[in-house]
């Protein structure tokens, strides 16, 4: 059996953690959800993760903080940011830092698939 690419989801919002991995699995990926950046960093999944779906605003370490931390650790995981704050200034910032895409919640399945495809092409 072909090994599915692992997509990790980091979001403090429970409904995202519940719903997104199921959809990702339906789309043919392996998925794992984490409630914080710290939880993801200390887990065993960092190296396996082919794509990271990352919330921007979270208590403690934020999405961009994690992006920087991964860069420092030379873990080049493609990142798709998701956020409920429609702040147009954030998107160019995170894209400039190397993110593949930045989706505003609520996003469509189609937008998600396109972002994932782009991310996996990069990797």
């Amino acid at each position: 059996m072909v090994r599915r690419s692992l997509v990790s989801v980091v979001d403090d919002d429970e409904s995202v953690r519940e719903s997104l991995p199921d959809l990702l699995q339906e789309l043919g990926f392996a998925a794992h959800a984490f409630s914080s950046a710290e939880e993801f960093l200390t887990s065993d999944y960092v190296d396996q993760t082919r794509c990271l779906i990352l919330d921007i605003a979270m208590p403690g370490m934020t999405g961009p903080d994690l992006q920087r931390e991964l860069k420092l650790r030379r873990k080049e995981i493609p990142i798709v940011f998701i956020t409920a704050h429609r702040d147009e200034t954030v998107r160019p910032q995170v894209l400039e830092q190397g993110a593949v895409e930045c989706l505003f919640k609520p996003f469509s399945e189609r937008a998600l698939v396109e972002a994932l495809n782009a991310a996996l092409r990069v990797s």
């Binding site: 409904s15 959809l23 409920a84 609520p106």
Partner: protein
């Protein structure tokens, strides 16, 4: 007022003086040998002196004429008149017409128990008649001053004002030793009367001039002029400062037309309105309007008028007008800064509110969409994953409920918690709102007309909420006219009985009116045509009226402007539970929807 009482006392004095006149017709101007037997002035001489006094002749000139007239009544008689100085310490010689050089030798005498005759008379407040100065100790220190003139007897009588204040001394110096005869006493008495009048008049005039100067100075400093307006004849008098404020020459007769020529053209309707009202009721008025000067600069004038009736019952306004340009300018600047600040604050808080609503609602929406997508995929699979689909559908419902809770929380945030149901006299409630808004309306130069039906039945509801609606309609009307310059900014507020046991309140403006495409949207939350508006007013107002089982509607006028009106059932029939009124807060629901649809 002061003037008339003053004249009154003069009349009395003249009466008293003339009452003691002999029928003698001796002319004043001719200094001729007198009628020694009578020792009195003729009526004509008294009249001539009074004429001089009231024509404002210099006091010393008047006193000298009187002195000469007295001297003409007998031989060997010298007349001197002494005036009490301001401190009341000395009497100073004002005239001694037949004693050459006298005033240079002896110009003052202290007021005291041994002040020759003139100082002692004031001190004792009674006449001092010295029959022989050579033997009288009163003259020990002064004898040498009069002996060169061959004076032996001195008769002095103190002079008093009508209020009994000491003014000075009238003194006759006599060559022969002796005391005054009855005729002499009469002469001294009469002369003293007239001298008293002359001095008092002079002092009053000085006092009047001083207080006038004070008043003029105060008016100049406070840029406040005063006026009187006799309504029946339109006779208007202005203080000097008012001429200065209006920049008219002092000799121009003031008329309403003249005033109108300076009033800012846009404020003419308001002025006319003010004049009409003032003519009618005769109660006090207070207005503010602008003046347009010949160089097109603008002044702001604050007018206060107090209506009084004269003895014939004719209406006279006495008032003050202050140039408040400086004040208004700084207020305008302050107001502009404040409103800009308020706008920024509102936009900022609205932005923050929107962001927070967006975030709160986006989270569950995100879950809903993701779950629904998953659900579809699970159902489309072969074989369909029904259990998985059921689970995601369940989550979809849960997230939907979560979004709905957010909306409920927001609604609670926006809604008013306490509601009071009571009988409300809509007229009274309206009057209160009008009273509160009057200043602002006047500042916006709005001409407000109220037509409140006298037979208006009471309604049942929340007084404060209904007042909010009225206030909101008034503000909107006033704002709608803020840019109107080519017509009077007329605002009508009317209450009346409506058909079907309802009460109607109408607010009609002459403002910019309503665009047809705006008609559908004006009651929506966040819809606004104003830069500083949040667009909540009409939406909240409509909710309030609907909770009162009424209807709020808007219509463009035939002419310029728009009319907003609401009608609500009157009497206890309209009573509704506090709970149903308490749900006023629907804008929050609309907020959320709009944010979602147009974030």
């Amino acid at each position: 007022m002061a003037d008339s009482s003053h004249e009154g006392s003069v009349d009395n004095a003249v009466g008293a003086a003339t009452a003691t006149q002999s029928p003698s017709t001796q002319a004043l101007s001719r200094v001729e040998p007198p009628q020694n037997e009578s020792g009195l002035f003729s009526g004509e001489s008294v009249l001539n002196i009074l004429k001089l006094i009231f024509a404002g002749a210099p006091l010393t000139e008047v006193l000298t004429i009187i002195a000469r007239l007295v001297e003409a009544q007998g031989k060997g008689m010298f007349c001197t008149i002494w005036l009490l100085d301001k401190e009341g310490k000395y009497v100073r010689c004002a005239t001694a017409p037949s004693l050459p050089g006298f005033m240079t030798h002896w110009d003052r005498t202290p007021v005291g128990p041994d002040g020759a005759c003139c100082g002692t008379a004031v001190y004792r407040r009674e006449p001092v008649y010295v029959t022989d100065i050579r033997s009288d100790p009163l003259w020990d220190s002064y004898r040498h001053l009069v002996e060169p003139y061959g004076v032996r007897a001195v008769w002095a009588r103190p002079l008093f004002s009508s209020e009994g204040k000491a003014l000075g001394t009238f003194a006759i110096l006599y060559r022969d030793v002796g005391s005054p005869s009855a005729t002499d006493l009469q002469l001294i008495e009469n002369a003293s009367h007239i001298v008293g009048i002359a001095i008092e008049r002079h002092m009053n005039e000085k006092e009047l001039r001083r207080s006038e100067a004070f008043l003029a100075e105060a008016q100049r400093l406070s840029v406040t002029g005063s006026f009187s307006w006799r309504v029946e004849t339109d006779e208007i008098t202005w203080s000097e400062e008012l001429y200065r404020i209006f920049e008219f020459d002092r000799d121009v007769p003031v008329t309403l037309e003249l005033i109108g020529s300076r009033v800012h053209p846009e404020d003419i309707p308001m002025l006319n309105d003010m004049i009409d009202r003032a003519r009618g009721i005769g109660s006090d008025f207070e207005y503010e309007h602008r003046l347009q000067m010949s160089d097109h600069s603008i002044k702001y004038l604050h007018l206060v008028g107090h209506g009084t009736r004269d003895r014939e019952g004719r209406l006279v306004y006495i008032g003050a007008a202050q140039d408040v340009t400086q004040h208004r300018r700084s207020e305008e600047t302050l107001g502009k800064v404040r409103s800009e600040l308020a706008h920024v604050a509102r936009v900022t808080s609205l932005g923050a509110l929107t962001a927070s609503i967006a975030h709160e609602v986006s989270q569950p929406l995100s879950g809903i969409i993701t779950n629904a997508s998953t659900c579809l995929r699970m159902l489309a699979a072969d074989p369909p994953n029904v259990d998985g689909a059921r689970e995601t559908a369940r989550r979809t419902i849960r997230d939907g409920n979560r979004a709905s809770e957010v909306v409920t929380r927001l609604r609670a945030l926006f809604s008013k918690k306490e509601t009071t149901i009571e009988s409300v006299d809509l007229n009274e409630a309206t009057r209160e709102v009008v009273a509160l808004s009057l200043c602002e309306l006047q500042r916006n130069r709005v001409i407000l007309r109220t037509e409140l039906a006298s037979d208006l039945p009471v309604v049942t509801g929340d007084r404060v909420q209904l007042q909010q609606v009225v206030l909101n309609l008034l503000r909107n009307a006033s704002d709608a006219m803020s840019a109107v310059e080519d017509r009077p900014r007329q605002l009508l507020i009317r209450t009346e009985r409506d058909e079907g046991g309802r009460v109607r309140l109408t607010v009609q403006d002459a403002g910019v009116g309503l665009a047809p495409q705006a008609m559908d949207r004006i009651f929506e939350a966040f819809y606004t045509t104003k830069t500083e508006g949040m667009g909540m007013g009409l939406s909240v107002s409509r909710s309030i009226i609907e909770r009162h089982h009424g209807r709020l509607c808007a219509a463009p006028n035939d002419g310029p402007g728009a009319t907003f009106s609401f009608s609500i059932p009157c009497g206890p029939a309209s009573a509704t539970g506090a709970r149903s009124l308490g749900v006023i807060g629907t804008p929050a629901v609309k907020d959320a929807k709009r944010v979602q649809g147009n974030p």
